[in-house]
């Protein structure tokens, strides 16, 4: 066992033990604990849990690598995956918390109709499943590189731990475990980033110091025949950058596993501050990621430029075993580099390894490399657990009890919810080990679907009393069909031919237009049909004020 493997194993076992301990401490006895953690989570803790829930394997493992190869246009992920929190905090979270029940489909059911609730529950399950498969696969990468485990074994171990705390503690167990996981992942992300910034610029704060290397990075990129790192719109046209950023923002604000996190706070005010803390915690990683991307790319390019293929740095050998780094056959010295396997470049580096390999690329000691492995797993597992809760609650609370078992007792409900959770974990393990070929591209689906279905009808449901059930159903269906059709039209994964992008709009960017189409249809159809009942309009009025009005003044 190498040093790196020892330290990776050490940190992974240590953190897993902590998660299991927390799970045991926070096991629950009723559905309110299982679904919304007894609505008793302090704002800062909830913020950390949102951050861990949100920052997935993609944020931790892939994002800095994506930015390194996209350059300036990597901003689509940086702004897209943070800006949505402004929409959530101002437009959705406080109102949904005031209404205060268990799931997103449940709100839609109360506000519109039971049909909308069933459709929403199905969409929530589909969206969450596409997302959870990516987390499982991300966990598999960490295990196979750092612990030399087969991907299947790694996925099974990670899932067994998730299974333990998600089934035992539901939302309560998940929330407190996520607080621990956030701590692990942010420490694992920041330590190597600060160390790399210190060695390369002498200033340990990467957010400030990566400006100093941008000139150098632009110059060396040009020598490799790549575009200028800081030049905008080299990877995507301007219109597409605009739409993808907007789609990711709207999608973020519409993803059920993010929204339900705001049901767990004590108060409406708590929901607002949770959103603030969440974005502080997320921003810590998201402002570091572009620095990691820039530093690692410069290190990578300098390390291999003009180097003979048999004299490459050792991290390339280490990672070559995973198949994620390849030196093209017959290459003497490295002159070209790409993240695209079909580009024919001398050295092909997969996006997913840049963060995991950055400590090695920068030559940091083995314990830090091992810590990064534990951080990657924390990111993957915390997100997977949040998604599994949505799948379990939608399946049990929104579908099973309504259609099959109306009069289930409290203990029976808890049991069924646990069984639903267990079943969801098993399916996730299966797809984690045998990921469908289209997984990478299908994540774009999750955001596009959330943006074009949930966000507009939630927004209109809160801010426009006149929106009615017929309008919401029509809006959701048209938004969904529109968005899915364009994705199928442009992506080859469903067995159809890949067609040209219309006006340069990529499938990732179509969700924003889908959301607009949904909103327009909802408004027009609502105006043409009967307004919602008096009771529904009163419910909408009620969620606008955090509590009933007191006549006497209270001091702050």
């Amino acid at each position: 066992m190498t040093d790196i493997q020892f330290w990776a194993l050490f940190f992974v076992v240590l953190t897993f033990a902590v998660y299991i301990f927390i799970a045991w401490r926070s096991r629950v006895k009723e559905t309110k604990g299982f679904f919304v953690a007894e609505q008793n989570i302090p704002s800062i803790a909830n913020g950390a849990a949102v951050a861990a829930d949100w920052m997935s394997a993609a944020s931790f493992i892939s994002m800095a690598g994506l930015i390194a190869f996209l350059g300036s246009d990597g901003s689509i992920y940086l702004m897209g995956w943070t800006g949505g929190y402004v929409l959530l905090a101002l437009l959705l979270a406080p109102y949904l918390r005031k209404w205060g029940k268990f799931t997103v489909p449940e709100f839609v059911g109360d506000r519109y109709s039971e049909t909308v609730r069933s459709v929403s529950a199905l969409v929530a399950i589909i969206v969450s499943f596409t997302y959870v498969v990516g987390q499982m696969a991300g966990g598999g990468i960490v295990f196979s590189r750092f612990l030399n485990l087969e991907t299947a074994g790694g996925v099974a171990v990670a899932a067994a731990v998730i299974f333990a705390y998600a089934v035992l503690g539901g939302m309560k167990g998940i929330t407190w475990t996520q607080v621990a996981q956030y701590s692990v992942l942010i420490v694992a992300y920041l330590i190597p980033a600060f160390a790399v910034a210190q060695t390369m610029t002498g200033i340990p704060v990467p957010q400030i110091s990566f400006g100093q290397i941008l000139g150098e990075l632009n110059a060396i990129s040009a020598e490799f025949g790549l575009s200028q790192y800081t030049e905008a719109f080299t990877a995507r046209p301007q219109l597409d950058v605009f739409l993808v950023t907007l789609s990711l923002m709207i999608g973020t604000a519409g993803l059920p596993h993010v929204i339900i996190r705001f049901y767990t706070t004590k108060t409406v005010r708590g929901a607002r501050y949770s959103a603030f803390w969440a974005l502080v915690f997320i921003g810590l990683l998201y402002t570091t990621a572009p620095a990691v991307g820039a530093f690692t790319k410069l290190n990578l390019l300098e390390g291999v430029q003009g180097v003979a293929a048999n004299a490459l740095p050792s991290w390339i050998q280490n990672w070559a075993a995973t198949g994620l780094v390849t030196v093209s056959p017959g290459v003497e010295t490295i002159n070209t580099i790409s993240n695209n396997a079909t580009s024919g470049a001398d050295l092909i580096v997969n996006n997913d390894i840049l963060v995991l390999a950055s400590p090695e690329i920068a030559g940091l000691p083995a314990p830090i490399v091992g810590l990064v492995a534990a951080g990657g797993l924390a990111a993957a597992m915390s997100t997977a657990a949040g998604l599994l809760l949505v799948i379990s609650s939608s399946a049990s609370h929104d579908l099973y009890f309504r259609y099959l078992d109306h009069n289930a007792s409290e203990s029976r409900r808890l049991l069924v919810s646990r069984i639903a959770m267990a079943a969801a974990v098993l399916v996730a393990i299966y797809f984690g080990i045998n990921p469908p070929a289209f997984v990478a591209q299908v994540v774009a689906f999750a955001f596009g679907l959330a943006a074009s279905t949930f966000f507009p009808i939630l927004l209109l449901g809160i801010f426009w009393k006149r929106a009615n059930a017929v309008g919401a159903v029509s809006g959701m269906v048209v938004g969904l069909v529109f968005t899915a059709s364009y994705m199928i039209y442009t992506l080859p994964v469903f067995g159809t031919a890949a067609n040209e992008h219309v006006l340069g709009i990529s499938p990732e960017g179509i969700g924003a237009i889908g959301a607009l189409v949904n909103a327009i249809v909802t408004v027009v159809v609502s105006l043409l049909t009967k307004p919602p009942s008096h009771e529904v309009q009163e419910m909408v009025e009620g969620i606008r004020y955090p509590s009933a009005r007191r006549t006497e003044t209270t001091s702050a």
Partner: protein, 109 residues
């Protein structure tokens, strides 16, 4: 929320009854704050980071082309501040209209 201003049968809200003026006022102030913050949200992210990024890139501060900095750093800091301003201003608004959440003894819930 028993005494809302809407008529029975789900007609849209008629003119304000005196009793409910505070509701309209509270909601209008909330909406105004929201719109101001969302305009800033749009200008900083989509304006500085995407629409005018190339023009701003002409200016370089501490090695960062300014547009690039907004797109990869500045926008995120702005988002955090916007949410904080919203939460703090809404606390004040809730207190002003007596709709903040309180425990039995009047302390913040």
């Amino acid at each position: 929320m028993a005494d809302t201003a809407e008529g029975a049968g789900g007609a849209p809200p008629p003119g304000a009854e005196p009793d409910n003026d505070w509701r309209k006022e509270y909601w209008r102030k909330n909406l105004r704050l929201m719109v101001v913050l969302l305009v800033i949200w749009f200008i900083v992210s989509f304006g500085c980071g995407i629409l005018f990024v190339e023009q701003l890139n002409e200016v370089v501060i501490a090695g960062f082309p300014l547009g690039f900095w907004f797109a990869q750093q500045g926008a995120i800091y702005t988002f955090i501040i916007l949410i904080l301003v919203y939460a703090v201003r809404m606390d004040r608004l809730d207190d002003e209209y007596g709709v903040s959440e309180r425990n039995g003894d009047g302390s913040r819930a």
